[in-house]
């Protein structure tokens, strides 16, 4: 279950660079978010995906724009990886009418079907049953589209996980269940919330392939993600990927970390996958220092532009409470 698939696919130099770009876009955007929070410009809770970049960056590098994702409150990294445009993303986080959701959903419910971000849910586990439906639609359409359901280790214990995996396996749905196992559900360590040692073993009960992956290693992620997506596109059904990682910012940004083991977070941060992968790209000649610096400058400009845009947007008017409840506006 922990083995890399045979004939493991290797990411081309181009794809490696693309994965890194997505990781960097996540990290730069996340960093900018912290700054805005400290400036008091974001007042809602923020669940950072910092430290977990490799997982959605690699998945997204393998997905087309038409492929779908269903994600969770800790999902901005997933959306940024999927190349959601940052202007409407930031406008949404800031509750502005030019946000993807007109400011009605906010960071926990960011949606952008145009880039395949179909659902962001705040209910643990609920991304999975809905992802099945998108996959079912693709199957009926005869398309090759795949759907990725992101969720956490804590979500692996809730009923919706089980129901979704059973149905997906039974119907051979083109869906990939990507668990971002960061070792904690809120403040509870995985060994205190989960019976069994590996989430991937739960796939056995559905006769579904299940793998435990190093979610901080773009090569391991790539090999497993590639196989899972190919499997789904070939009509062979779902895969469960348990991707081991760590969240650098705790549960909600600003939480205290008292519940963590001593030194645990520091040890993980010392192995930060972002600089590690950056160094590797340079060492292996995939990219030059200058190239990556330029990439970073471009990304930072994009982020800055998005924030400036968002701050200049209007807030929605109260009539918006009567809109989008139903297709038809509710009379005043």
């Amino acid at each position: 279950m922990t083995t890399t698939p045979t004939n493991a696919a290797l990411p081309s130099a181009e794809i490696q660079l693309d994965i890194f770009r997505r990781m960097l876009r996540i990290e730069r955007n996340d960093d900018a978010t912290h700054k805005q929070i400290r400036l008091g410009r974001i007042t809602s809770p923020y669940y950072s995906g910092r430290g977990q970049e490799v997982i959605p960056a690699t998945m997204s590098a393998l997905m087309t724009r038409d492929d779908k994702i269903c994600t969770i409150y800790r999902g901005i990294h997933d959306m940024v990886a999927k190349d959601m445009p940052l202007r409407p993303l930031w406008a949404e986080i800031c509750g502005r009418v030019d946000g993807t959701c007109k400011g009605k959903g906010g960071p926990m419910h960011l949606t952008h079907p145009a880039t395949g971000v179909m659902v962001t849910t705040g209910i643990v586990g609920s991304s999975m049953p809905i992802a099945n439906g998108l996959a079912w639609a693709a199957l009926l359409d005869g398309s090759k589209q795949v759907t990725v359901a992101y969720f956490g280790d804590g979500a692996a214990n809730i009923g919706a996980f089980h129901e979704a995996l059973n149905l997906a396996a039974l119907w051979k749905l083109p869906v990939i269940f990507v668990c971002q196992n960061n070792g904690y559900g809120e403040h509870t360590r995985i060994e205190n919330h989960m019976a069994g040692d590996l989430i991937s073993k739960r796939a056995v009960g559905y006769a579904m392939p299940g793998f435990t992956v190093d979610g901080n290693d773009p090569f391991d992620m790539y090999a497993h993600a590639h196989a899972a997506i190919e499997r789904a596109r070939a009509g062979e059904g779902p895969t469960l990927l348990e991707c081991k990682t760590f969240r650098f910012m705790g549960h909600a940004f600003g939480d205290n970390d008292a519940y963590m083991l001593e030194g645990e977070k520091a040890a993980h941060m010392a192995k930060d996958p972002l600089p590690a992968f950056r160094a590797k790209l340079i060492a292996s000649g995939v990219a030059s220092e200058a190239q990556l610096a330029q990439m970073q400058t471009a990304i930072e400009a994009e982020v800055d532009d998005a924030i400036a845009f968002a701050m200049a947007c209007e807030f929605p008017g109260v009539e918006e409470l009567r809109r989008d409840v139903f297709a038809e506006e509710i009379p005043a």
Partner: protein
């Protein structure tokens, strides 16, 4: 006028599903045992559909209510119009998160980008001694949830016409198929088409009192009204049909005319749908009523098993008669 045919509500729903599936290849049917291999539904409502439209469009599912609502939500966002069955209304409790936190809210939370045009069909109702976990009317829960419509017809024509409308509606609809109501035969036009959501039906006009009801309980009200007419009391009888959004205009106009109102439903009286309707009538027609608005509903208990208790639990025609007479007696 078109030719009339007689059938049960179940048959009428079956017809509506077949017509919608025929017309629109995006319509899907989904739920426990709904395909013909499994008998076409536990009580046969979907019989014949999988044979006619294929197993891809009519699929039996595992017992998995969260997935039974979750998958249609996703499929709806993928362009389909799934009609999902939750066998009995009590089992909506298992799927409540998917219905309330997701189906009903995704359009709003996405600022209108997502739409979830699903229909949730569900049976319920006491009278069959199925006891505490198989007979609850829980429509008030969904009426109190913004973003989902709630429909509960009482007769075959309405079952067909409203089902057609629910399938075409761009938003989620909860479609209640009360056991007694779907089994009671009635007439409908061979070409019965859509009946708009949100519109009540005045079953009969009257001048002394307005009786407002829906679903099975509406059938019991018809009986009560016959008896009242014999006693010389003129009743305006309204079948709400859609409970949320309900037809305020129709109800208020009627009660403004009669000056008296009784709301009757099978669900618990306490905190039930009747409370909203009664509160609205009392507020909007303040000073214009001849008598207090009455509500009849189940007592505050679980649905009991024993036949005499089950009978006492349900509002009977005699209760409606007594209530109306008391209102009239106040002058």
């Amino acid at each position: 006028m078109s030719e009339m045919v007689t059938m049960t509500g179940q048959q009428a729903i079956n017809l509506a599903l077949a017509e919608a599936m025929e017309r629109d290849p995006k319509v899907l049917v989904f739920g426990e045992d709904v395909a013909d291999r499994e008998g076409g539904g536990v009580s046969g409502t979907t019989r014949g559909l999988s044979t006619r439209f294929g197993d891809d469009r009519v699929r039996s599912t595992p017992i998995t209510e969260q997935a039974i609502i979750g998958a249609p939500i996703g499929a709806a966002m993928g362009g389909y119009k799934p009609v999902a069955e939750i066998m009995l209304m009590n089992f909506t409790a298992v799927a409540m998160d998917m219905i309330v936190n997701h189906a009903a809210k995704l359009r709003f939370m996405s600022g209108g980008q997502s739409q979830v045009p699903i229909v949730i069909r569900t049976m319920t109702g006491a009278g069959y001694q199925t006891a505490g976990q198989h007979a609850d009317f829980l429509e008030a829960w969904f009426c109190h949830t913004a973003g989902i419509k709630v429909v509960a017809a009482s007769n075959p024509a309405d079952f067909k016409g409203l089902m057609l409308s629910c399938i075409d509606d761009p938003d989620p609809c909860m479609f209640i198929e009360a056991g007694v109501a779907i089994r009671t035969p009635g007439e409908l036009a061979v070409d019965q088409g859509k009946i708009p959501l949100g519109k009540a039906r005045i079953h009969q006009a009257g001048t002394d009192v307005t009786v407002i009801s829906y679903s099975t309980q509406f059938l019991r009200c018809i009986e009560a009204v016959k008896e009242l007419e014999e006693a010389g009391i003129s009743v305006e009888l309204i079948d709400l049909r859609t409970i949320s959004p309900w037809d305020k205009e129709c109800v208020l106009a009627s009660v403004e005319k009669t000056g008296r109102a009784v709301v009757v439903h099978e669900a618990l009286r306490s905190f039930g749908v009747g409370a909203e309707i009664a509160a609205t009538i009392s507020e909007e027609l303040f000073g214009k009523l001849k008598a207090p608005v009455r509500r009849l509903g189940a007592p505050y208990s679980a649905v009991p098993f024993s036949k005499p208790l089950e009978t006492a639990f349900l509002v009977q025609p005699a209760d409606v008669v007594a209530c109306v007479k008391e209102l009239i007696s106040r002058g």
